[in-house]
């Protein structure tokens, strides 16, 4: 009797939803279609346990689930139909894959007997998504369904996180099988290394104390492994200067005296100079992206490198690493701190010897700080600075891609992990707004912004209907220069100001557009209107578009030309 009651017969659709509940899922982002109608029908019975967010375009679902995952640390879940439903999520999946965001994407598929027949709304979804997922599955037998979902969540959320897709043919969702959710997974070819090798960590501990000009270069791994506290403890223990990639921002408090800003193409003068003058660089959950290193042969040319990363394929990929440590950042840093706790005397003398190094970096910081000059036209940087001040650095900020993204990275001083949601790897315009929707659902009590350009906001503007439907008070700040600003900047610098198709001559009236969707639209045209507009937006418990009409030809500085050493910065 007991055995029977444990293994209840269920349809595939019910098995899917029961499995999701077992994984702690309470929110999914989706869009119905023919191949997932059975699942959607069952979903109505689960209304009280699973919140389904109906987006307006499947790409929006993928980015929203991504934003939800980045803001909360949980796995984001997407449900879409076969064919176009699945292909519309690809940009979102590739975005999550590049930035190591845990997601599970459930796609409908045509019935198993029609697969390969060019059936209506058929696409080879596992084939198309193979290179842009961490792993993917086609469920061909209902017996494998629960096990597959279990594995998918496990793979998505462990090791270096990433998106996992499960393609489910329609007949599987209607057939019936006993439901028995597995407790564990058995994957012979998958066992991420969590604990760093003791010998390597000891070497790292010795070097970090010995180094005269050490530097921490942190990346998104600090955030995905929830290691911000350990990192802060390490930096403060040894007075280590910290610089961060775009993805690492928030992993270390930006207002901390040991923080010297973002490095790389649009990094601060101090950060890029520090990289080039350091004698020992510890890369923590970072991957030496070309936008970070510039000319890779010159990157940290005077330094030895240590690299802590959970993904062995990230280590030694672009730069030679003397001390590789494969492991989870949080766990490795904890072990490192433990080893260092026995070196109190050496540490205090090392700290004393390094005072000059910190002074040097501080001198660079004051020599060339991030700055801009504003007269009677709004400067984009000013808008972001004011958003920072008026939210006290406590907001969750999603960004689109381009100039507005870089100014956000420079002028919003992120204090906490999971407060900057940005497409760092793939650089996806149209990411920010749906990601902000996902983040607002994950964090209903927080203020959530999307900082956008007039170009990128139009890539997923349809999601304004989603925000209005679910009454999500997301604040969209459009840095409106009637240009694809970053393209214009490159054309100015590298193509003799030949502005080839980068001008957005015709934009909608964003205030009216907001109103048409049932949201609120506000506009600032002069510097003194900026603060009142942000204040007003913050007081409205509805989605708000703020249209900031800014200086059309402002550029992001410092800038390193692609392929140049990162010390070769163009300053303002």
């Amino acid at each position: 009797m007991e055995h029977n009651s444990k293994k209840k017969l269920m349809t595939g659709s019910k098995i899917i939803l029961e499995s999701l509940i077992r994984e702690g899922v309470d929110t999914i982002f989706g869009y119905p279609g023919g191949a997932v109608l059975n699942i959607y029908d069952e979903l109505l019975n689960y209304k009280s346990r699973i919140k389904h967010v109906l987006v307006r375009h499947e790409q929006g679902a993928a980015h929203a689930a991504d934003g939800y995952a980045r803001a909360s640390g949980k796995v984001g879940v997407v449900l879409v139909t076969s064919g176009p439903g699945a292909t519309n999520t690809i940009t979102g999946i590739a975005t999550a894959n590049m930035d190591s965001v845990p997601m599970v994407i459930l796609t409908g598929q045509v019935p198993t007997n029609l697969i390969g027949n060019d059936a209506f709304q058929e696409a080879d979804t596992v084939g198309i998504t193979r290179p842009c997922t961490k792993h993917n599955y086609l469920v061909k037998d209902i017996k494998d369904l629960a096990k597959t979902i279990k594995e998918a969540f496990y793979i998505a959320s462990t090791g270096r996180p990433g998106p996992v897709l499960i393609d489910i043919p329609k007949d599987i969702t209607s057939s019936v099988y006993e439901f028995d959710y597995p407790e564990t997974v058995e994957l012979r070819g998958y066992s991420p290394t969590y604990f760093g090798h003791h010998v390597q960590i000891s070497k790292l501990a010795a070097e970090i104390v010995k180094a005269k000009r050490p530097l921490l270069y942190i990346g998104g791994g600090v955030i995905s492994s929830n290691a911000a506290n350990e990192l802060k403890e390490l930096a403060e223990l040894l007075d280590l200067p910290v610089t961060s990639t775009l993805m690492g921002l928030g992993g270390f408090p930006s207002d901390h005296p040991l923080f010297f800003g973002m490095l790389g193409m649009h990094g601060t003068y101090a950060a890029n100079m520090a990289i080039s003058n350091a004698d020992f660089i510890v890369a923590i959950g970072a991957r030496f992206d070309d936008r970070v290193t510039g000319k890779v042969e010159e990157f940290g040319k005077n330094a030895k490198f240590a690299h802590i990363d959970i993904d062995p394929s990230s280590i030694g990929k672009n730069v030679k690493i003397e001390i590789p440590v494969v492991g989870d950042v949080k766990s490795v840093l904890s072990s490192l701190l433990e080893i260092l706790s026995n070196k109190t005397e050496e540490i205090s003398s090392a700290k004393y010897e390094r005072l000059g190094w910190l002074e040097e970096i501080n001198a660079w910081k004051y020599e060339h700080p991030l700055l801009y000059h504003m007269k009677d036209i709004i400067k984009p940087q000013y808008v972001i600075e004011k958003i920072y001040e008026l939210t006290a650095g406590e907001a969750v900020i999603a960004t689109e891609v381009g100039q507005s993204q870089m100014w956000t990275a420079q002028f919003y001083k992120f204090k906490n992990p999971r407060t900057l949601l940005t497409s760092g790897g793939l650089g996806t315009m149209g990411f920010g707004f749906p990601a902000a929707i996902g983040a607002q659902i994950a964090c209903p009590d927080k203020t959530v912004f999307d900082i956008a350009g007039d170009g990128s906001i139009q890539m997923n503007i349809q999601e304004l209907a989603t925000a209005v439907q679910y009454n999500l008070p997301v604040k969209i700040a459009i840095i409106n220069n009637n240009f694809l600003g970053m393209i214009r900047q490159w054309q100015e610098l590298f193509y003799h100001k030949r502005y080839s198709f980068s001008e957005m001559n015709i934009n909608p009236d964003f205030v009216k557009l907001a109103e048409a969707y049932g949201a609120v639209g506000l506009r600032a045209k002069k510097p003194d209107e900026v603060v009142p507009v942000i204040e007003k937006a913050l007081s409205i418990k509805k989605p708000v578009i703020m249209d900031f009409v800014v200086d059309r030809e402002e550029s992001v500085y410092p800038m390193v030309a692609p392929g140049s050493p990162i010390t070769g910065m163009l300053l303002v």
Partner: protein, 163 residues
């Protein structure tokens, strides 16, 4: 630095694994010179032997990424020195009264077998190292090779000798 590499890849025997593995090569413009895949003793597992040539550093990267694939259990790079490498070739070669005895002699030297005979052709089966197969082909070429088919190479690590 360009060099020939042999990778022995132990995988789960599931559909799509070959594509996942091959995809890592093709995405970097790496050509696979030969590939052999077959089930192992446990039918749920297969072994792939891939021969490829190209930059050593890029191959190292590919190896690391192969390890990252969920269905890949183990990746090993094999070298000529530490492993036994074999390939089998079937060659259909022109034969007449004047050349038949030559073909038989060559077959014997190479330790091969005649597996098909017709009035004007012999088909030989020879197994050996890649170099041996190449020299066999060189020797038979003047006689006129009508058709040829080669397996990919297979390789197995030697047991370490005790020092």
């Amino acid at each position: 630095m360009e060099k020939t590499h042999i990778l022995s890849i132990h995988v789960e025997n599931e559909s799509g694994v070959l594509t996942r593995v091959a995809g890592l090569f093709s995405a970097r413009g790496f050509n696979i010179d030969s590939i052999c895949v077959a089930k192992m003793l446990d039918k749920n597992e297969s072994k792939m032997i891939i021969a490829t040539s190209g930059d050593t550093q890029i191959l190292e990267q590919i190896t690391k990424q192969l390890n990252r694939l969920v269905n890949v259990i183990k990746v090993q790079e094999l070298t000529d020195e530490d492993s036994v490498v074999r390939q089998t070739v079937l060659i259909k070669v022109n034969a007449d009264e004047t050349t038949k005895s030559d073909i038989f002699r060559i077959k014997d030297i190479f330790g091969g077998r005649v597996i098909d005979v017709s009035r004007n052709s012999y088909t030989l089966e020879v197994t050996g190292s890649e170099r041996k197969i190449e020299s066999l082909i060189d020797i038979l070429r003047p006689l006129g090779i009508k058709d040829i088919v080669k397996t990919g190479i297979i390789a197995l690590q030697r047991t370490r000798k005790q020092s």
